[in-house]
Amino acid sequence: MTNDNLPVLYAIQYSEFDINRGAFVYHETARTIFSEGQNFQCVCNFLCPEPNLIDKLIVLTIQNQKLIGCPVIIYDQEKYKNNRNEFRFNACFVIPSQADALKYEVAVRKLAKYLRTLEVDSCFLTNDALKREHLKPALNEIVRQINKSGEECSVKMYTSVIVNLKLLERRAEPPTVASSDVPMFCNNIDLSELEQMDQMTQRVIASIDGLRHVNKIAQDTDTELDLVKAAMQNLIYHNVIKLVPIFSYKNRYIVTPKLQELYTNTPLQKELVFFVGRSGAKDCVSFYECFRMICAFDHGSLVKDVVNKMKANNIDEKKLVQYCVLKGYLRRVRDYRISIDDSTYIGNNASGPTNGISNGNDQAKSKIQTTLRDLCDGTNDSDSLACLGYGKYNINDRS
């Protein structure tokens, strides 16, 4: 959505309400659509509005610009007795209409709060000299810094008051972490930041190797499973790791259309060949071999079949598969075993292509099978079954 060519912030428009003049713009850092006479007449209702819109975030879109404001009214019978006992002002951000207004909400509200406090404490906004001397340059500086850094500013407004604003990108909720998911780093991480992380993360982050699943990490680090999951969700949110399915030589994968990207993009190819070499190798593998191997995953072949077929000894197939899944070149084809047998008796050999239940008829197994059959209703794939402890009863494939 956001276009890189557009500035983050066009301008800040500071307006107030005067009993003689009505609403007027006191200062704006740049001319915008909203400063035009006619437009302003129309929007002044929002800018210095009725009491019932006080402290509400108001976003207004005209053409390709958006105005975000949070009107403030300060009531004081002593101070503003010449001004109907109140003082109304609004410091609005003018941004491109494509931008997400929610990103700016915190900053707009915070700026309003700063100005309000300054006004209550030291008449910052009603004293013309102060306003002229400090407010104007401060607003200009805020706009300049935010546009420069793209997200934050730290500007000295008046005496010891420093305004720190930050635009918050809205990120998607992290997905829920299943016990069978494997965390994998999606970027190189800076280990010097490790000490700043929380204890839980410090404990589990070393176990992330792209092969161990969450359940295993919890066991290896002797940590409670739910805490590990929470730590993983946190890392996902901060875009440190992503989740991939468990690697196994019995997995199937299929190529995705994203492969085309790899085919045309040289930096991605480089990243791939650097990553998938066996550890300790003195030379990187050839892209041709990697690409052939990736394309050999055709939904039907197991990883072991592909490895045997390609005979590319210098490619670490574990790394290749997990990397490609992480990058989205490959997609795991999941295995769902569904029991089609709806009768109450479960001892018989219910056959059918999806029915992968072991055909052992032992009495000892029957109890497990009861529950296993309930689990095989199309909602649990082989990974989650394995994590529930049914792995060994379930591994025989149709072969």
Binding site: L53, V59, A230, D283, S286, F287, E289, H299, I338, G378
Partner: protein, 638 residues
Amino acid sequence: MARIELEKDLIAILLVVESAHDKSRVLYKYEEIKTYKQLQEPTSFYTPYAVVIAKDFDPPSVKEEDASRSTFLNFDDTTLAILTTPYSYGSHVEVQVDDVIFVGHTLLLEGNPNLKSFAIFFALRAIAKASVILSYQDMSKRIGTAIRCEERRASYLNQEYLKLISVIQQHEAEPNDPLNRLPNEENTRERDQKDNNKEIYIIMAEQSPLAATLRQIYMDLQVSGEINISINNWLNVSCCLPHRSVPINCPLETDYFFNVLSNAVDYLKPYYGLLLVIDPLVLLASLPTDSSQTLVTLIKTVRSSHSFSSLSLDTGIQLSQIYSLTAHLLFWGRAKIIYPIVEDNIYIISPDADLSKRGSLSKMYHETFQNTLNYPTLQEALAEYSDAIAFHDHVPRIEDENEKHERHQCVEWLLRHRLLVQVHTYFYLLLPNDDRHNFKDEFRKLRLPPSRAPLRRYPHSTEGFGSLSKPEQFHLSSENIDIRGNTSSINGFENNMASSPMPSALSYGSTHNSKSADTIRTSNNTNHEDVFASGSVSSSTTGISNRISLHYLPQITQALPNERAEYRQLLASAIKDAKEQHVVDFLRLIKYLDGTYHLEEIASLENISRLQILTVLENFQSIVISALHPDSNPILQI
């Protein structure tokens, strides 16, 4: 479709007018309060794809979703009137207050004694996607334009305005004698006011057809996302919200598919086909009386095994017209774009298909296919597609026409519900020795800093590499080759010799000298690697000189005029052993070998059969890699 979900984003519908002598005011609003009643079940967030929810993160609560509704309830009519004040006519209005967003399209009324302008506003949740907001705006514009037409024809709005205003005035006159009330009853009074307000809107809907129409619009949008109403019993208005017409299990982002839907014609290809999502007879019955006759013809003739081009031939409708009609059907969620169902197709189960036995799809399947013997349950039907094999390979036994028909219907049903995805064969041309993919230098620079352990074995390693003696250099490179694996080591000593001057970070001087010196030797080297890679080609080619190996170069230059000369040479040496006819065919296809065209697409573009293409490409297995994956065209996923 199966899972009916109420429109979450829509909070209320408002009719706002600006009268000639008054400020603007809200004439009518409709918000459904009934649905707001707390249906608080014990919140168990069960999804089939998650095992446990981590404790730290609270699931998004029901309360949060209704937060904007309660924000809206707190606005009184004056506030609403201020918020919806027109500030520009004939353009979109979008105002957001906290978590409620108002969208509408203000229309100017000329020559009306009472009214200056009016607008239909929708109050939405502010977290609604940009495309959703856009489609509501569009809807407001359509309804508004229809009302304006009626106003011009029969001063409809004016009549309705007078009706509504009289209800309001009457209402205001009745309970508004605040003298009777004590100041401490303020709260109860407010509540009474609100109840009164609710009543007044009910009365309005009874007395004014326009108010009733607006209420109808709100309800229709909530339930189906489509409206089909007539304004003043005269003008028909029908439009739909595309994000509602596309089923929930569409994997695309709302904003993205809205964009795709709006420009659907650009995404259509002549070899795609059309699959109606609902019964054609029902669809025909639902069309308005003045609908296009071409559309009727199209719906009657469409078959899932026909492509657009054959449809065009059958019906005599131009392809461009078929495209726009298809785009229309897509927008309304009445059809789906597929690759025509033919016996060669390969289907796999969609990764997000709901396989659960107790799911609604399972039940629907059961109801639809009660009489089939072959696949009594959805799970069994889907199991057929567990392996990516061609459609005609599914049933080895000879089947009669009836069974075939049944199977066809089953596939249609599965496709319609997005349970199957079709995969195609794509081809990638990739030369084993293309130096654009050669990252060995960089790798070595990165991984082997000059002072690494193996180098220290040679005392003069740090400075002496420029004037490196021959045996030492050879030693190093052969070590490298061993690690590179059997590929080159099988090629034997001769090849090692050839590849020894390969640029390496360890031997700067020699690299620079040898690199420019011989292209001949490098290409010689590549020859050998080719022999190995292609495998099928006999090894008798050793010793063939460079000039012969490049004898296809002119043709290649003709086929790939924009490629680099080195690449063309590599390609020429790679295909030097193929037969002339094969090379001609291959060069004809070469522009499709970048992974963006699938087999069927190439066949239809070049007008040759699939088999022919496969035969041609079989001869070039070493440089053409095939991959099986779904078509990435987003229109197929809608």
